[in-house]
């Protein structure tokens, strides 16, 4: 099938994203047997918003407070030398830290895997979690590193020429995942 450069498909809408996050929250509780030692870490920018939403659902399900942190991986990127220096976002660890906890990294799109690699490097410097898991809204494939997600909202087979755009109400005014046609 060929598509024009301007063609765009909405893959997930607001209701889909809410349902997907509810499912991921249940999966986390199931795999972590109650999510007692779970710490959510959102990767900037949209991963942070998704982590906040996941936390709300986890609190609803477990009735327990779930610690939440934010992680900026800019300083650990492997392509720093190829782009202009970027302003940093705020990294904040939850008060209890991450030592001995089950850290669930949360991001919007899993693509090459390089962001997750950088996040793992950052975690290495910050503490020593019991285990690290990864939750993503969309897995679009094309991994360049041996990394896979533990919780996937939607597997979205794409070509390298296509774009995947995640929009969240907090930053973009609405919730949607949009697949752009070949560029």
């Amino acid at each position: 099938m060929t598509s024009s450069p301007s063609e765009k498909t909405r893959v997930l809408d607001e209701g889909d994203i809410a349902r997907v996050l509810t499912r991921i929250a249940h999966e986390i509780v199931e795999r972590a047997k109650g999510a007692e030692d779970v710490v959510l870490l959102g990767i900037h920018t949209r991963g942070v918003h998704l982590a906040r939403r996941l936390r709300a659902k986890l609190v609803e399900i477990t009735g327990r407070e779930i610690p939440l942190g934010t992680l900026d991986i800019t300083m650990y990127r492997d392509d720093l030398r190829m782009k202009p220096a970027r302003a940093l976002e705020h990294t904040e660890m939850p008060p209890g830290g991450i030592d001995g906890r089950l850290v669930v990294l949360v991001d919007d799109v899993l693509f090459s895997g390089r962001t997750v690699r950088a996040a793992l490097d950052a975690l290495n410097d910050i503490g020593r979690p019991r285990a690290v898991q990864l939750a993503v809204l969309v897995d679009r494939g094309h991994r360049e590193l041996p990394i896979r997600a533990d919780y996937v909202g939607k597997n979205l087979p794409t070509s390298l020429r296509e774009t995947v755009r995640v929009q969240l109400a907090e930053t973009d005014g609405r919730d949607a995942v949009i697949l752009g046609g070949p560029q």
């Binding site: 990767i43 920018t45 949209r46 900026d72 300083m75 650990y76 720093l80 030398r81 190829m82 782009k83 202009p84 220096a85 970027r86 302003a87 940093l88 976002e89 705020h90 990294t91 904040e92 991001d107 919007d108 799109v109 899993l110 693509f111 090459s112 390089r114 962001t115 490097d121 410097d125 910050i126 503490g127 679009r140 774009t163 995947v164 755009r165 995640v166 930053t171």
Partner: protein, 326 residues
Amino acid sequence: MNRNLVSAAELSRDDALLILDTAEEMAALSDRPIKKLPTLRGRTVVNLFFEDSTRTRTSFEVAEKRLSADVINFSAKGSSVSKGESLKDTALTLQAMGADAVVIRHSASGAPQRLAESDWLHGSVINAGDGTHEHPTQALLDAFTLRRHLNAGAGNDLAGRRVAVVGDILHSRVARSNVHLLHTLGAEVTLVSPPTLLPIGVENWPCSVSYDLDAVLPKSDAVMMLRVQRERMNAAFFPTEREYSRRYGLDGLRMAALPEHAVVLHPGPMVRGMEITAEVADSPRCTAVEQVANGVSVRMAVLYLLLGGAEPATSPATSTTKENAQ
């Protein structure tokens, strides 16, 4: 941002806030068990010090090492410079050695500017104090300290805050850099000094001038005390140390005249009993020690923003998507 940091006067408000906000993130690193980032791995930074300085050089060195840069300390004493080598030849040597950045302190005002404008070096030039001209990273760390106490929060400036800079303005590169940067950030600066210790042309600086410390203190949100440079005491800038101390020194009584929220800054080294009494220096309102820690964070921010990417940072954060924007 420019490729170099030579003067605080050339920093725009956006550049200055970008540095302060980045420094705030760098400061969080000091609470971690591993105080190191891989950001400048493989980059070489040369600390080129033609003038003695332990405090500033060590601060830069700690900042460079925390960012994993390779650090070379090059001091003029005992080096080829003392044998008569020119700044140009030193620079060409460093270039040949692959320096990605040079942090330079020089007794001659304008030496970093000369280096930055030349084609002797391809790396960034960071001014660590030149003659009586500028000391931009000191001004940035002072502004960072002030913001934390007076208007904490990312993106905030110092609009409407009143800062008194007291002491030897004539010989102080710290004062000059501070006046420009604080003005850029919206603060109102008042220089307080004996007339003999004010530079020619001070009326063109973006600040006001007073000879009366007691009149300025009650309306100041912060007081920055400068070191009285004893080595220049014999030049008859004022009659006696005692008289200077009485008129321009900060003691407990004067500190009490400050508003409750006001802080006292000192770039160090402090001459206790001269420009500042031990009582003030040791009080919780004096930020001198905090300024040292902030210096490392600010210098890390400058090094990251100038050297971290393929080119220096251009603007505050844009919320680009990460992986799917490749």
